[in-house]
Subunit: 223 residues, 2 copies
């Protein structure tokens, strides 16, 4: 019986990794479609979101079944309840990748507002945070999880900087306004993606140490 | 033993209702601080968010304890796993109320851009959705839950309309830009609050009917 339970936990772990890699790809393609002005790629990000939604439903069902049939305790129970929170975060990240892609389409119909530097940099950090938060989860690595949480403030600062810079473009010429607004929202979406990675990293600490660090960011230094 | 379990479920239900009413109040005060240009009220929304965070942690812990100690089945199991998702949605709504309040403060330092009509209307609908989604949850009322889901498209349409109208203000005068951007984000935050209410309403259908309607909005008419 226990061996069967371990196998099922293994399946759950693999499904989460698969879902994370689909979401990582969606974020990566959304940003690529922006950088390379590739509207076909942007459309494909929107089309592929259903896959993320289906994985969320499947994993959620698997978690509820495991709770019902195996009545897990301690670390296994925390793992399963956290898995449900993690899928939720991954699903939102998938939606945010779609939101980015949806803004890339109108952006690509006009000349580029400015060479993009900070947004791709922010995207790179956010993508690394997604990857690392899932790696931390798979390997129960709280040191890596902690590093993810710490990078969140860099992303927040970049979002702020991008917001201010785009405002100057808007002031300069009304013809820049629509494009600048789209870029502002893209920046905000990336910032939210980083937040969701931080949530996942916080779940990792909870699974491993049974310590809740959510809403307790000032305590992370104590980990 | 069972009577004790029922009591515990009652406590969980009351805690969720309490959390929902704190969040409702935060949203209501955030919008009031915008309409009445009351920066003190906006600051108080930001200050009170900790209460929402604490309630989320408390309810989550209670859910995990119930899963561990009572090993619930069927509708009770769905109720508890949904409760964890509902707190997560409520916590995000609390954050969004804070995000609104944070933008009210700089807005109030300048003259009003325009008489606000659509944003308060959108806020009213969003607040009703929050209230109704929680009422639907408390009373296991799938008809009310369905009505919440259906109102989501009205909020989306209003957000779109507000976005377009604010663009015209930005084009007209660069001096309007910063205020219009803040209002755009406030509108987007309200739209997200409505989305979270919809998520809660979808959980209600799941608890009652064991039917997942999430990501399956076209199937709602079949309920």
């Amino acid at each position: 019986m226990e061996r069967h339970f371990d196998q099922q936990l293994g399946v759950l772990r693999r499904n989460l990794i698969q879902m994370a890699s689909v979401v990582e790809m969606a974020i990566s393609n959304a940003v690529k479609s922006l950088k390379e002005r590739d509207s076909d790629l942007a459309h494909s990000v929107v089309m592929h979101d259903e896959q993320v939604d289906d994985l969320e439903l499947e994993i959620d069902k698997q978690c509820v079944d495991l709770l019902a049939l195996q009545q897990p305790m301690a670390v296994d129970l925390r793992f399963i309840t956290s898995a449900m929170k993690i899928t939720n975060n991954l699903e939102r990240m998938g939606d945010l990748a779609v939101n980015i892609a949806e803004r890339v389409v109108p952006l690509n119909q006009e000349p580029q507002l400015k060479p993009l530097i900070d947004i791709p940099m922010m995207a790179t950090i956010a993508q690394t945070m997604v990857k690392d938060s899932i790696d931390a989860f798979v390997n129960k690595d709280t040191t890596l999880a902690q590093a993810v949480c710490q990078r969140d403030s860099t992303v927040d600062a970049l979002n702020d900087q991008i917001f201010r810079e785009l405002l100057t473009y808007m002031m300069e010429d009304p013809g820049n306004i629509i494009r600048a607004v789209h870029l502002m929202f893209i920046s905000r979406h990336l910032e939210r993606i980083a937040d969701h990675s931080t949530n996942i990293a916080e779940e990792v600490v909870y699974i491993v140490r049974a310590t809740v660090v959510k809403h307790r960011k000032h305590r992370l230094s104590e980990l």
